[in-house]
């Protein structure tokens, strides 16, 4: 099996249990995906890693038809409210890029897939969200 790396460091591949991990403020619980200097909500400076749920609902979406060169279109971008807390943005997968086929508020489940391969054969693993009924709970990277 070729070597795999996550596309961003808040995606934890963890064998067959890929999930997102956030920096959670130790004081107020605010969640962040980026490297932190302090909490923008309360000012605290200590954080703990928190695993987030793979399931959630679509808070907003757009179907992108025009993009920078090299970006494949059309694709569906969505903001997802995760069950148990956290908001994340990614592509919707396994859906037609058609506004009639996507419902605001619809339940979705995180899936992972190979987004690219570098010149050493290493695969970059990305995550997206599929309609909950169409997703595969055992889907691994």
């Amino acid at each position: 099996m070729s070597k795999q790396v996550p596309i961003v460091d808040y995606l934890v591949l963890d064998g067959d249990q890929p999930h997102l991990e956030a920096n959670a403020c130790a004081e107020c619980g605010a969640l962040y995906f980026d490297r932190r200097n302090a909490c923008a909500r309360c000012g605290a400076q200590s954080f703990e890693r928190r695993a987030l749920a793979g399931s959630g609902t679509v808070r907003a979406f757009t179907i992108v038809h025009r993009a920078a060169p090299g970006v494949k279109t059309p694709y569906v971008s969505a903001v997802v409210d995760l069950d148990g807390g956290g908001v994340v943005k990614s592509n919707l997968v396994d859906v037609e890029p058609d506004p009639e086929q996507i419902a605001l508020g619809m339940p979705v489940q995180m899936v992972t897939y190979v987004a690219g391969t570098d010149d050493e054969g290493t695969e970059a693993i990305a995550f997206g969200y599929a309609p909950a009924d169409a997703s595969h709970p055992e889907n691994g990277a």
Binding site: D9, Y10, T62, V87, L104
Partner: protein
């Protein structure tokens, strides 16, 4: 110098927005500055401060380069960059200096030359480079997340913001968003300073190429070039103006700038609502004006979806009622609160740094009764709004003084 309770606009100008391949930012900025000074009856030699907003050459001392064309007097010159609130931020600097008594008169200029560059960003690495995944940046990304982990560029961000509103409120969808563009294109026909002056039917707008659903090409602002300027003055200066000039002075009843307060979802998708609401509420309180008192509003319709949200954020409609507001014709020039009678960013154009000054020019011109064919009759109170993603939001309320 003494502290000034009120700050006034005594001169205002804008260039026609469009494309000026034979000019540079200094030409455009100088043109707007000289026209605003001429309009005020003052000269650059009367100014105590200059503030210049520009984004594309933000490290290029644009303000001082304009001074070198129109008058070098040694006054403090500030160059500002604050995304699409860049021009309005320059105005805020001039405003606070007069209010504090550090300046009696000041000029604020917003200028941008964008050419035909889009807002979509450039291509990735050059072909031929060896590609090895290495985590970089604050998210440890090994490749560009754009188009893989959703979208983070303007058309998609504002499309998602619109869809979030559509989820929260009934009666809001593609057609309501498209109607915003129908209105602004129609309004622009009366504005000779607009980059485009072309009417489109709702069918043409909804049937145009989709950029980021629900925004089609005719629901997105164009790129372009242009400049605008205002001359601000203290109470003392205005009292001493000759009567014909004093009659044309417009009072700045509120001047507010906000940034993003913390909200959960804004960590992944810019929240254009909360800081706009806070700016509007502060402005209404500062001015002692109720939203229902407004005779016209120039707001930041970078995309049609954005304008609809701001009806609600600026309290122009009932909470949650933005869909009903556009459906009922409320923001049309003959409606309850005319919005973007200039044509808005969608049709008037959006040279980034100029926008937040040009909307002050527009409202000032109506309050003076000098807006020609597009004049809103009897306009006495107007509001301007800009938002730069990242984010910065400016709201100004202007009033025609009692005669």
């Amino acid at each position: 110098m003494t502290v000034s309770d009120t700050v006034w606009i005594i001169g205002a100008s804008m260039t026609k927005f469009g494309r000026y391949p034979d000019k540079d930012v200094v030409d455009l900025g100088s043109e707007a500055a000289l026209a605003a000074l001429a309009d005020s009856g003052k000269t650059i030699f009367d100014m105590d401060l200059m503030a210049v907003g520009n984004l594309y050459e933000a490290n290029g001392m644009v303000g001082q380069r304009i001074q070198k064309q129109i008058g070098q007097t040694g006054i403090p010159c500030y160059n500002t960059a604050n995304a699409c609130a860049t021009g309005a931020s320059a105005v805020r600097i001039a405003h606070t200096a007069i209010k504090a008594g550090e300046a009696r008169m000041a000029i604020a200029v917003g200028v941008e030359q964008m050419g035909k560059s889009g807002l979509l960003g450039g291509a990735g690495r050059a072909k031929g480079d060896r590609k090895v995944f290495e985590p970089s940046g604050r998210y440890g990304a090994v490749m560009s997340p754009e188009g893989v982990l959703g979208t983070g560029i303007m058309p998609g961000v504002f499309a998602q913001a619109g869809m979030e509103y559509a989820r929260q409120h009934d009666g809001v969808g593609f057609e309501q968003f498209a109607r915003v563009a129908e209105k602004n294109h129609k309004h622009s026909v009366l504005n000779p300073l607009a980059q485009y002056q072309k009417e489109f039917s709702l069918e043409q707008i909804m049937g145009a190429e989709v950029v980021a659903y629900p925004n089609t090409l005719l629901m997105c602002c164009p790129t372009g070039d242009g400049a605008a300027a205002v001359v601000l003055a203290s109470d003392e200066v205005v009292r001493q103006l000759d009567p014909d000039q004093r009659r044309r002075a417009v009072k700045i009843s509120a001047s507010v700038l906000t940034s993003d307060p913390w909200t959960e979802s804004a960590q992944v998708q810019p929240d254009v609502n909360t800081l706009t609401r806070q700016a509007a509420d502060q402005a209404y309180e500062q001015a002692g004006v109720d939203p229902q008192d407004l005779d016209l509003v120039e707001l930041h319709d970078c995309f049609a979806t954005a304008e609809l949200l701001h009806y609600d954020n600026l309290r122009l409609c009932e909470p949650g009622g933005a869909g009903e507001f556009i459906d009922s014709g409320g923001p049309w020039r003959d409606g309850r609160i005319p919005v973007n009678v200039s044509g808005g960013l969608i049709s008037k154009g959006h040279p980034l740094g100029a926008t937040g000054v040009a909307n002050l020019y527009e409202v000032t011109t109506h309050l003076r009764g000098e807006a020609g064919d597009r004049q809103i009759e009897g306009a006495k109170v107007g509001l301007t709004h800009v938002i730069g993603l990242g984010s910065a939001c400016a709201v100004h309320i202007l009033e025609k003084p009692a005669a």
